[in-house]
Amino acid sequence: MNLVDIRNLEVQFPGATEPLTVIDDLSLNILPGEILGLVGESGCGKSMLARSIMGLVPSPGNVSKGQIFFGDLDLLTLDEPSRRSLRGNQISIILQEPMTTLNPVYTIGNQIEEVLKEHRPDMKRSERRQLVIQLMKQTGIPSPEARIHQYPHELSGGIRQRVAIAMALVGGKVQLLIADEPTTALDVTIQAQILKLFVELQKEHQMSLLLITHDLGVIAQTAHRVAVMYAGRLVEVAHVEELFDNPRHPYTRGLLHSLPRPGSHSRKQPMPSIPGTVPSPGAIPQGCAFYDRCGFRDDKQCLNERPNLEEGATEHWVSCHFAAEIPPFKVNSSDEVTP
């Protein structure tokens, strides 16, 4: 049974001549209690996917096709009051920059409490305070009784992100937590602390975590399964070890090759890189979206025919015409990415 089942989702924005498709025929499931990593570059549609699940696609964009099931509920057909009661209660989101998530003129205690007021209106004020302090303790905020009276600007980036996490969990029944680049704005030593907290909370609350990031290191260290997005489409979905050992899509392989790894490239020598840039919506090649940058393409099928996401090996989905023929992956064989 899936916790979330996204079927043939399409999100469009109005363009000058025709609508721009930012998410294109995307199907993906999230299992109960798993950490699903979603990787992709800026503009590939990963944040828009998160917003679609939350029901917060910014106007004038709209979900033009598809369904998103949360358990038995089809989120896209729900009325706004029912969606509102899900948001922050059973489905929560954490954004990249905690400084802009939090309201600068309210104390953090106030802000966490506000969510509680919305979802548990019957609760007494003193009970609410107690719960907020308890939650702040749980998310590793030191001396919460004092912090509760502080304003966001008085806190460090790491503590602010912990506050945002506490706020996301305060509804108490969170089944799906979406974290959109939650550690990108943080320093490396703090990033490691926050990721550890995510893994602990995910286990403790037995919730599913959709972890959106561009950092393959974050994915490798935390995710159970990984979905790779490119230009609004899913290109590969697999278990984390399978994806890093045996990536089948040329884009995934390019990303893995271009990571600087200690000892893998000689110092000051050229690093493997994917040529070209990500196509903008509206300029996506007709066949495979990765056609222009691919080292394995052919001029017929790849140019004209869009590949479908197909299950090659067990639970390893790839959308590439040559997924089966591409040679085994080796970290140092960089010839395929610099044609």
């Binding site: 570059e41 800026s42 460090s156 980036g157 790491g158 503590i159 320093d187 490396v188 030593t189 703090i190 990033q191 490691a192 602390q193 990721l195 550890k196 561009h214 950092d215 393959l216 290191g217 974050v218 994915i219 490798a220 260290q221 995710a223 984390v240 070890e241 890093f244 390019g254 990303l255 893995l256 271009s258 990571l259 600087p260 790894r261 200690p262 490239h265 110092r267 000051k268 020598q269 050229p270 690093m271 493997p272 890189s273 994917i274 040529p275 840039t277 990500v278």
Partner: protein, 324 residues
């Protein structure tokens, strides 16, 4: 102990820059942020020195002190052996900068051609009739085509914009480029392209780089020397290979251990460093890292460690590491 080598292109001697904290509008408090607190560093011509550390450790203040955008409270910046005071035109020509954010570092209402033309005319790099040829050479040196020239920055992708930022920096034939997190705002698939470009022009133009970054894997790849900063001070400095083969300062070790290895089979449990960096304001005596340090002893609270050679060319500021 140290080997004889050519004199450095840039030398920082005991640089200090403190900022006064303002508590209220009328009353200036006596608290100071010790942004840079006695930093000495050398950069050899044609080589890369990496400056590593977390946000707030003073990396960018050092960049601004080098570029003469700030004047130090004490200490000096020397360029090719001579003390630099204020930015002469000649100095500005020899030191350039590549910024982190390629979106805000290019003037939005100028075409790429005008952006590249400006340094050429200001510094009279070439004759007026050669300018157009020079601009063409610059864009091709950074791997872009001439049809970019009539576009505006917003029409370019992040990677292309960063290439223009690099072209602008090399336009005046500098000797040193300060690269402040030059790839951290770029997508993963573009980063290695830009790194390759930086390595390429370093070789062809014999440029020295001060490479400011928090990405240790990237630093391992591009630099010749690594300097690690914590709260305004350099705590460890060594040639890149020596450093990565065996970092000595507990903070450097923690930084390396916090880096996320892109390999799901190597998930480590104890990689986190407790606590957060202090603000740099209310520092008392002793080592500023001691509150987070797993090796701290009583001595660390009373005496501040100084940089000493713990091995050949390997400088460390820690009481727990024996000098040679």
């Amino acid at each position: 102990m140290t080997q004889v080598r050519e004199s450095p292109i840039l030398e920082l001697r005991n640089l200090v820059k403190h900022f006064a904290m303002r508590r209220s509008l009328l009353r200036r408090s006596r608290d100071k942020v010790r942004a840079v607190d006695g930093v000495s560093l050398q950069i050899q011509s044609g080589r890369t020195t990496a400056l590593v550390g977390e946000s707030g450790c003073g990396k960018s203040t050092i960049a601004r002190l080098i570029l003469q955008l700030l004047q130090p409270d004490s200490g000096e910046v020397r360029m090719s052996g001579e003390v630099v005071v204020g930015a002469s035109k000649e100095f500005r020509r020899s030191v350039q900068m590549v910024f982190q954010d390629p979106f805000s570092s290019l003037t939005p209402h100028l075409t790429i051609r005008s952006i590249l033309k400006e340094p050429l005319t200001v510094h009279k790099v070439c004759l007026a009739e050669e300018i157009q040829d020079h601009i063409l050479d610059l864009v091709s040196a950074v791997g872009l085509s001439a049809d970019m020239l009539n576009r505006y920055p917003h029409q370019l992708s992040g990677g292309q914009r960063q290439r223009i930022g690099i072209a602008r920096a090399i336009a005046v034939n500098p000797k040193l480029i300060v690269c402040d997190e030059p790839v951290s705002a770029l997508d993963v698939s573009i980063r290695s392209q830009i790194i390759n470009l930086l390595l390429d022009i370093q070789k062809s133009r014999n440029l020295a780089y001060l490479f400011i970054s928090h990405d240790l894997d990237m630093v391992a790849h591009v630099s010749d020397t690594v300097a690690v900063m914590y709260l305004g001070k350099i705590v460890e400095q060594a040639p890149t290979e020596t450093f990565f083969a065996g970092p000595r300062h507990p903070y450097s070790k923690a930084l390396l251990a916090s880096a996320l290895i892109p390999d799901p089979k190597r998930r480590s449990e104890n990689r986190e460093l407790v606590g957060e960096m202090d603000s740099g304001v209310e520092r008392e005596t002793g080592c500023s890292f001691r509150t987070r340090c797993p090796l701290a002893i009583d001595l660390c609270a009373t005496h501040e460690p100084v940089l000493h050679y713990s091995a050949d060319e390997h400088l460390t500021a820690c009481h727990r590491i024996e000098p040679v």
